[in-house]
């Protein structure tokens, strides 16, 4: 697990080209790291988005992380986290292990009824960054989302 975490850190910092899934598009994407989502230290009213995150809203970005493993994933979305997480139940149920710095990856509308197979290890996603609190199909609220283009969405859905 240590090796996995080290890999996550290094991939976040420098080499998002190696992971398994990618989005193809004409517009070059900017790398966005989970550590750049929020400012430090944390204020009395909670987390606050970083200037870098806000500046990338609406732009094509590439984010590397781990797909959250779920027993019953909602269709049309992938949860990308900075470390491997398993979302489940046990005794803490909704107090789950999903970090605040989490990316919701949305498939294109044409594929949003399709589930995505879990892919272990580091995964890279590229799409258009969307910001703001939104209720997700899995019942959670996302703050940072990535809208995939149709071609990448089809590839993910087919992977099932």
């Amino acid at each position: 697990m240590l090796a996995l975490c080290a890999a996550a850190a290094s991939a976040n910092e420098a080499r998002p080209d190696e992971p398994r899934t990618d989005s193809s598009a004409a517009t070059p994407a900017v790398d966005l790291k989970f550590r750049d989502f929020f400012t430090m230290p944390i204020g009395p009213a909670g987390l606050a988005p970083s200037a870098r995150l806000l500046s990338l809203a609406g732009q094509r970005v590439r984010v590397v992380g781990y797909m959250a493993r779920q027993e019953q994933p909602a269709a049309g979305i992938v949860i990308l986290a900075p470390l491997p997480v398993v979302l489940g139940d046990e005794d803490e149920s909704y107090a789950d292990d999903l970090p605040a710095a989490t990316l919701y990856v949305h498939l294109a509308d044409t594929e949003r009824t399709r589930a995505v197979a879990y892919v272990p290890g580091l995964v890279s996603f590229t799409g258009v960054l969307q910001l703001g609190a939104t209720n997700e199909a899995d019942g959670r609220v996302s703050f940072v989302r990535l809208q995939l283009d149709p071609e990448s969405s089809r590839a993910l859905a087919i992977a099932r």
């Binding site: 697990m1 240590l2 090796a3 996995l4 975490c5 080290a6 996550a8 850190a9 976040n12 910092e13 790291k33 989970f34 550590r35 989502f37 929020f38 430090m40 230290p41 944390i42 204020g43 009395p44 009213a45 909670g46 987390l47 606050a48 988005p49 995150l53 992380g65 986290a81 900075p82 470390l83 491997p84 997480v85 005794d91 803490e92 149920s93 909704y94 107090a95 789950d96 292990d97 999903l98 970090p99 605040a100 710095a101 910001l131 703001g132 609190a133 939104t134 209720n135 019942g139 959670r140 609220v141 703050f143 940072v144």
Partner: protein, 662 residues
Amino acid sequence: MSSRPPFALCALLALSLPVLCAAAPTVSRLTPPSELFASNNSGGPVIARFLPGQRFDLQATVRMDTGTTLTDFRFAVDGVDTKPAANTTSVVTTGLTLQKDVNAAVVSQRAFSMKKPGVHTLTVHATQSDGQRVSATGNFEIVALERNGKPAKNIIILLGDGMGASQRTAARIMGRGYAQGKAQSPLAMDTFPVTGMVMTSSLDGIVTDSSPGMSNYVTGNKSANNTEGVFPDDTLDAFDNPRIEYLSEYLHRTQGKALGIVTTADVFDATPAAMAVHTSNRGYGTGIVDQFLDDRGLTGLSVLMGGGRKWFLPNADKLKANGALDGQPMNGSQRDARSDYELPADLIAGWGAARGSKDAGRDLIGDFRAAGFAYAPDKAGLVAADSADKLLGLFSYSNMNVAFDKINKRRGVSTIVDDYGFPDQPMLDEMASAALKVLARHKQGFIAMIEGASIDKQEHLMDTDRWLLEVLEFDRAIQVAKDFAAAHPDTIVIVTADHECSGASIIGASTKPVAALQAAATAPSVAGQRDAIVGTYQASKFPKYAMAPDGYPVSTDVDYKMLIGYGANADRYENWLSNPTPTQDSQQPFVGVAPQGGYPATPNVRNATSGFLITGQVPGDSAVHTATDVPLSAYGRGAAAFTGVMDNTDVFFKLAKIVGAR
């Protein structure tokens, strides 16, 4: 006795006509739980016990024949029908946890109470639509309280989560030192004049988790694991379970006492929630923190301190009305309608409880402030706020950082707390001091629970040096409470644990200086790190931990250091040295990214290149709770009651008696 056939004739016919009897309704659950109902054992222990006038819910699950409905039910105590107040009963037939083909009804009567001491029978009678009837009987006890001496005004419960006898001893060895077999001086908890032992099992297991581990102390009743202040039921709703009145509620209702809750964990965590919140799911953080505030009129909540800011921040709904980027649309809120609560009408009517609302968009810090609470987001804020008469302190996003890392930040030798985003967190003794200042302003007295939460959390991780400093931090809070009780002799203070965790044992001491441990870590092996280092019996000399003026060891890596083993451990690698960073906590906001991304993910990879593998007896990647009895020490008015071996539910009745409940 469990479900009875409706007619005596049916029993007589049962051998020859079993189908007729099998078609009768049955009762599969009767609450409060009893051995009389579960095992038809009239000679077994009385499971459910209450104070005179303490409120609790009556409930039964009636399984009816297919195609029938429930037409009537009633409860009787000692053969006399109860008289439920208006709107305090209910029949629930949907949203059940039972198999879909089971035709069942969960029938309830809320907030029942009685004053007559003794063991009483409880019978439920139910009738299904074809006229067939069923009844079932259990029992409960109303405990007689003899008046005895001047009552105490204040109760302070110091709860070392997971702190068994070994943990106390290990902290004494580290924090006070031994010479020729004698402790140089006692811990604060050692100075309490009375000590007993507590049995900790929950309603459904010999090994408890922290929810019933705490709530059993303050309801007088056994709850099931993962549940707080309720009995189990057969519905899916996590907030509609049969309630048991907490000591805080009972004393606020009858004596006007205030409630204070102080923890180093996220305040939604099992132990703090099990002082005031009624739920069958300890994970429902949104509803738990909401209920803290919403039902302050029932509990007298006046102080709430710990971590867990993420549950108090408004989530989407309210913000969306203003546009996605207004306000703090990305504030890290974990509020979620799925983990929130909204109570059924009978519960509201019976208990006078708030209805609640599934409102992820609620600004709970704002609501606490509107209710008169001062808000402290950090240590500086805590200092400024302790003149308030109601106080909310939320010092971190989730669980607070542990003493090992907080104190090293203050010493300027660590930035771990900065990695979590909260550089100015108070120590537990500072929180306890502020809480007691605030609570002392409440003229009718108070009940306070002060928890050293991460003793347990670091034991789960088998991070020895970190849990040891947690015990030392907790002991400093104990000294604060003892000093308060010395100045306010109408106070009873108890120090105990909800359970032991990890099976921690002081196995001996290193036979080598710390440099040798460090050298051995460069070539890990059983021979080099176990056989050559672990000193047992007379080879375990008395380690000398130099103490800094701040009250904590200058370093835990000393020559011939104390060595800890674990009897309830998962796989781990051991090198006997302190871990420079904590293990990753997935609920922290910056987990997984630098610098937290470099922390070990779990104990079974931590020190994998520097320690020898110790195979665990339990699956998973963390140590577990154990069922061993835990010590309880008492100081102050009424302390003498806490001798001998007692059940955790006994503590409730002792405390109630000491504060003059009757």
